[in-house]
Symmetry: C2
Subunit: 336 residues, 2 copies
DNA sequence: CTGTTAGCGCTTTCAC
DNA sequence: GTGAAAGCGCTAACAG
């Protein structure tokens, strides 16, 4: 193995000088620098990150903690994060919590253990407060993405949830839908609550009744839409929603499957819209009408914000809210 | 910051004993172990990975180098890899090469620099031989996934490419298609060649002509299917393929878009099948008929194999070939 | 079963 | 501009 001392000897300088060169220190004579660079090339020297990290305290490692990279929304975030991290000389470690706060906390411990320079966190639930306390305790800079946590004032990049619900609602309303159901996630997820609240607000605004039997709640990882489908089918025609607004793409897909199993057809018997495109790229063949959030930008800007935080740990928290876009496809039937 | 010495002092033992405890050494008295564990808990001690790595040479870090995590095929691999890595106490750093070998080599250098315990590599092209030489030189265990590299005898987990092409071909043939075009990737990708070869073999076997104008080649990242669509449309009816076999999911999606722009309809005017499901989860609304490779297993088994390699660096290379499954959907029109 | 000593490869700090 | 000394937090190798 070739170390900094081998390079130093070869270039007839001290190890310290080599260190300065690989760290782009400016206080170095051009000629020595050149000499060192040459020695590095000749010996094919690659610095040892563990050693650097041990003495300098930075690792050039970022942690990306999301719930499930399989969901194109999070995949997009991951891609955006990696791109920006790479541009800035960082690498990213990713972890899936599956909406499980205990797993999340383990990952945060790992981040502490590795001395990661920062964490990009999509908190699993309100209980993520635990993870955040750990982060705070060890002074690890972090940025919340996609979801906030109550009582936590931290940097964040989130979607315009209310605006997105509005787009969805107006689309349905515009197509004549009045009885609109909600397929929602766990209540402990900030996101879910905001979306649900806006749904109720819109319904009220139009003086539309919200039948409690129209509100369905499901886990995000363990999706149980079968019961929702059964209930929907068994509702008397006049009380049955003509459309469902799902707060999550995979939930919507799952519901369609469950409805099919019940002999109900989308959009023939019931229309469906949801958050986030289940397709990772533009797709003419896609079926679901969705509000697509700019996942890539969540990740890209998240890392950007994280590095600003690393630079200036004391600045006031910033918040970035990104708008969603309606993609009209074929899962909504016009009632007009 | 709390170090191993703080714990040692608190537990009235030496640092070494603490070290043994956190490393699950068996040669420790139960009572001392308990004492140490308690001190660890009281002080909320979290070991410093950089320090451990510097002296022990292992990092519990794995590198996953793929071309684009955005593609559900690679997303699945990533998820499988992370799951298995997590089970075994490792974390994974992911990197996207965008089919660019230079970028890939940079990432391999980073892996060396970080002393990663192993690398899971989906080589961008035959030129990836460079990256592999680096890996060899620094004795970093690695496993090839999805793609092989000529003249490299290394562990690998790949799909049954020939079998998958056969499934696709037989599906088309069974539905009466005789003029079948090929939309393929860059020739420098091992995968692509195997698939193309099998396509020709099948066509020959059925004594079907392969018109050179039916072979289209596109970049995987920069997809140029517009020209293919134009050519297809301009071909005289009798010489125009009735179906296209695409070797990549995103290529297929892109072609559909391009054909649409040319006023051609899928599957009305032309049928399309391809490799790998563009949907990350089971999706009843999906349009494309595909052969789906078990992406998750690629990643899961890849990590498994990698760790065996780490354990026994000298064993003979193993190769795992995973079968694909035909998912029949709506992109093929029956001609019978 | 437990402790001591040395050192992993780098950077910090302070001289010069 | 450059170098020497010390040490980051841990574990290998040995001793007992």
């Amino acid at each position: 193995l070739v170390t900094i001392y081998d390079v130093a000897k070869r270039a007839n300088v001290s190890a310290m000088t080599v260190s300065r060169v690989i760290n782009n220190s400016t206080l170095i004579k051009e000629t020595t620098k050149r000499k060192v660079l040459e020695a590095i090339r000749e010996l094919d020297y690659i610095p040892n990150r563990s050693a650097r990290s041990l003495s300098s305290k930075d690792t050039k490692l970022l942690s990306l903690i999301i719930t499930d990279i399989t969901n194109p929304f999070f995949t997009g975030i991951a891609r955006g994060a990696e791109d920006r991290a790479n541009e800035l000389g960082y690498q990213v470690v990713f972890s899936n919590t599956d909406e499980n706060v205990d797993k999340e906390t383990d990952y945060v411990r790992a981040a502490v253990s590795r001395g990661m320079d920062g964490v990009l966190l999509a908190p699993a639930a309100d209980r993520s407060l635990e993870s955040i306390r750990l982060l705070d305790k060890y002074r690890i800079p972090f940025v919340l993405i996609d979801r906030e946590v109550p009582a936590v004032a931290a940097d964040s990049v989130v979607g315009d949830n209310a605006g997105a619900v509005r787009l969805l609602f107006e689309h349905l309303f515009g197509h004549g839908h009045r009885r609109i159901a909600l397929l929602s996630g766990p209540e402990q997820v900030w996101n879910t609550r905001v979306r649900e609240k806006e749904y109720r607000k819109r319904m009220n605004e139009q003086s539309l009744p919200v039948d409690p039997r129209w509100i369905f709640r499901s886990g995000l990882t363990h999706r149980n839409t079968a019961e929702a489908a059964r209930i929907l089918r068994n509702l008397p025609e006049a009380e049955r929603p003509t459309a469902v607004l799902a707060t999550n793409n995979f939930l919507a897909l799952s519901l369609i499957q469950s409805l099919k199993a019940q002999g109900m057809n989308v959009p023939g018997d019931i229309s469906i819209v949801c958050f986030d495109d289940p397709s990772p790229i533009p797709d003419d063949t896609a079926f679901l009408t969705v509000v697509a959030q700019p996942a890539y930008d969540f990740g890209y800007n998240g890392v950007q914000m994280l590095l600003q935080r690393i630079d200036e740990p004391e600045r006031a928290p910033s918040h970035l809210v990104l708008p969603a876009k309606l993609l009209t496809r074929r899962s909504v039937r016009s009632l007009i």
